[in-house]
Symmetry: D2
Subunit: 326 residues, 4 copies
């Protein structure tokens, strides 16, 4: 349940205000060169307080890799265990939240599902969990680079974030993703399609409400004659290419050698810097006076998370295909 | 790889023009009353040639249940095996397709991935596979009904399908889905969120390019203050309710008791009743003169498939939650 | 739950007296040449009534392969679905068994676990299920042969079976197994050791009470100085070899290039040709007068089943290792 | 691959001489009371240097639980992450082992499988990994106790260990296991039988060469008439009982309410306090002069490990059955 992937699997743990976050990345091949410093840099990129429009919470977020990689940076083929200590958790900020269900948060559903919930910072439901994904993704990235595969993402602003933040409000936004250099044949037909795995990966991200690839939602309004990807032999390379990329690089769930492009839609941060009404676990009406530090637009830091999840999804499918194609 | 679900698992097989399609539904609890006739009726609903704007291919599509259900219709707790014979496969229609890569189809990617491909009707990549899903979903539906859970879907036409068909073209369309009566607490946090499982389920459907739930893609343009689902105690029922359903019934990946609503975007059928250029396995330029029978809009029959996949996803997550909530 | 394996996975279904047994073998690589006739021959070898000391039940046991293999016998990389009809099920023989718990059978435990049980021939608990394993194993064998891997098994008689049978009694026996030609490196450390997977495979077989490999149970009485496998470079081949094979070809759960040898201990057939006392579902004391046809020693036909399960276990682990070693 | 279990899953990491061992126990229900001190005590029981006939290596082996349990000791339903630092790793002891294949160890097979190996203390192949299992098992034990389930194990000495140790030799031994209080119905038929899962669990333990339950290997020499477990209604309790327990508490792979008894056979510790010949990675003949601290009989500390693995196997199967039986 807390595992993503079948062949390269990331299993994670951690509550937002517990002692540490962490995970185990299992299935990575041996003899892959991993630069620990680059893993840390990816974590820094996600960290709050490093970018405009992110929360002021400043955490060192130092990843400690505990196994699976030699001192020389070579993977052993054994599971890569890691932890990130939670150093800057201001639990006191959440004292007033105790047993209060914050609107659009997971407090109510967790409380009902488990009969107990760590209300401090959302506990397991917190986006803090994504530090684990970034570490896992950063390791996968270095393996995928050996095949020339590149994963990137970018923010598409829909409302002015700074404006919004100054009013104590929050806003949604879009993150676009791009996978380049993927060989033909990645993705398992039927239920483990590359498109299906990417969708599952992106919808795992807190606050994501929609996913599309290639022509996306627009495809529903198109005619067949308007959306053909006609294949031909590229005279320059002698290889199969396509005159367009309506398919977004995926046909029948399998990569076709074209770039894979997709979009991920984030809802606004549910925590506002405004008083909001709600109920508590006893069913009494209460008012929440927000005191925590929150991003006005989660998609800003979501860019690194979209990359991480795409890296994990692609690495997982490459792990099995890689062999079969040799 | 050909399995959907973790607790209630559907594993399927079958090529479009092979002897039969089939599957195994494993994990269904014992002593569930299953009406075989209703399973057959759901299959009939999906069948081609029964609705306007679907292909003329007429297959009996009779499901034969081979295990797991007593003569009296009671599940045994053992796996439910079933097959559907392929009776009306006009393989001759595909003679001219041999080794030709149909545009926007999976021919090229399958051929490259496996080094061999059943070109007749798309082989394993054919939407014929969805008969298996409909059978699996129909059995799950009868179990979910015992909890008062109802899954339905409907077509949202974007272009006039009849018009399109008359011109030898095809069109995309949207299918909306609705899950009613779901108790609070269904969905596993982090990587098996209800939203993530639904997305994976829908993106498994051939021709689907986008998935959204609740406010969906629009959420990316909204402000936080515009999208609050404020909880209150419903005076009539004494239960927790929400003033709106921006969340689409899911918070933190877990159902919150409100209806779950989602949309699935289908691209146009890639096979046109027009000549199209492409290349073949030898890399030679060839022209395809379509002869098969194809739906001008796959979303028409996709309605039954969207329901089936939603049923499978919900049943799977209910299987574990059901116990924990008792 | 009804699936064996992680990379090459056999999922099965079928009750002893239902319409058919069957399964899906998923994960087999594409372009493997499969001789359907040889699959049938392996099934014939397991069949009752073909050997001395097996039950008189004569079933055609014809396997029908429904997908995943071309007419020319080439695997497509898609799941291989198959069924075997239950033609010769004398349900009438079991009329008197209805709701009676046969001693040492699974009737009582199934009935308590599921609240419903197919008492005819043991339903899902019947050894008839092993026809599915033999089909799966037979396909795996043909793939493993391309690597020079050979799996065989033989019967070690402990009591005289014919004697026993003539007295209406039954007897246990031992089946020895041998895996030859396995390359170094097969088996995943820690929880998916080759030894652990073989043990799980063998203990899945009805009537098996013990498993051992290499020195086996005797190792518990040995001194370290008596059980060393000292490695050296074989002058003839230039390759690493060992002066002995106490390890049974497995070190740290991974094959070391030596033959893998193991033993499987079968208990006596629990059904005797004698009256036995028991209770029924109502808790009343009843007497069972056996009428079915039963083998006096299940290990006789168990030889083919031991081979099948060893083939499935080895193929599964080869599937991932094969790639990594290239 | 480094995960045990399907519903309650333990995923582990750690090399013997790396910074830490650790794991994630996922799937534990919420609101289970866990006494952290008792978890530590189970770890102490396994620790070396606390018992006669174990190695002198003294490690604090302090488990740090990082998530999933509240300060008050209540499980949250989220994954339980934990680490145990490797404090007393005398890597220098292993300097002379570098690239030398110790007989009956996993050095050769790991080196060949991965192309790289952490020779210090056996790396991932070390029995040090079992600290993770003991932590996971100790948490499961506290949950199982709420059902009245008790798991215990004991040493059966075959040779005099002290004698052996004084000669620089090592010896094998037997560990017997007992599961009491298990309700009827635990174990999934066919491939996840309670017996099969126990066997897989035990064969995961380094040095184990054989597993048996109930009558075990002896069953192969018995007649059917000698091994009947006849059921009757116990007059005292009004419940179903059996006149004997040849079945070892398991019928058709499912618990029948009788005690589950089994035996696990350990080979002698492969490291002797004697010079042994072997080859190194270059294929050269070398002599190993052992310097590490090793137990003359691994089964002594194996008792705690057998209990841990039995606890994990039983908890996993109880997790699904528990619900179904309510």
């Amino acid at each position: 349940m807390n595992t993503f992937g079948k062949y390269i699997r990331l299993t994670t743990f951690g509550e937002s205000h517990g002692p540490a976050m962490g995970g185990i990345l299992d299935g990575m091949p041996s003899r892959v060169q991993i630069d620990r410093q680059r893993v840390q840099e990816e974590l820094d990129r996600r960290a709050p307080g490093r970018q405009p429009n992110t929360s002021a919470r400043r955490e060192p977020d130092k990843v400690e890799i505990l196994s699976g990689i030699t001192d020389e940076g070579l993977t052993l083929g054994s599971p890569i265990g890691f932890i990130i200590r939670n150093c800057d958790a201001h639990s006191a900020d959440y004292a007033g939240y105790q047993e209060k269900f914050r609107p659009n948060h997971a407090d109510y559903t967790y409380y009902k599902k488990y009969g107990v919930h760590d209300f401090r910072g959302g506990g397991r439901a917190s986006a803090r969990e994504t530090v684990n994904w970034v570490v896992g993704g950063a390791i996968c990235r270095q393996w995928l680079e050996t095949f020339g595969i590149k994963v990137s993402a970018g923010l598409i602003e829909t409302n002015n974030i700074a404006d919004t933040a100054s009013k104590g409000d929050s806003t949604g936004a879009i993150v676009s993703g791009l996978i380049e250099g993927l060989p033909v044949g990645v993705g398992e037909p039927v239920f483990d399609k590359l498109s299906s795995r990417l969708a599952a990966a992106m919808m795992s991200i807190n606050a994501v409400k929609a996913f599309e690839y290639g022509d996306g939602a627009k495809a529903a309004e198109m005619l067949g004659s308007q959306s053909l990807d006609v294949s031909f032999i590229d005279a320059a390379t002698g290889k199969v290419s396509f005159n367009a990329n309506h398919s977004g690089g995926i046909q029948g769930g399998i990569s076709n050698g074209m770039p894979v492009n997709f979009k991920v839609y984030f809802k606004p941060t549910p925590t506002l810097m405004q008083q909001v009404e709600t109920i508590d676990a006893a069913g009494d009406r209460v008012v929440i006076d927000p005191k925590g530090r929150h991003d006005p637009c989660v998609a800003v830091r979501g860019v690194a998370v979209v990359e991480a999840m795409a890296l994990l999804a692609v690495a997982d499918l490459m792990r099995i295909q890689w062999h079969d194609n040799v």
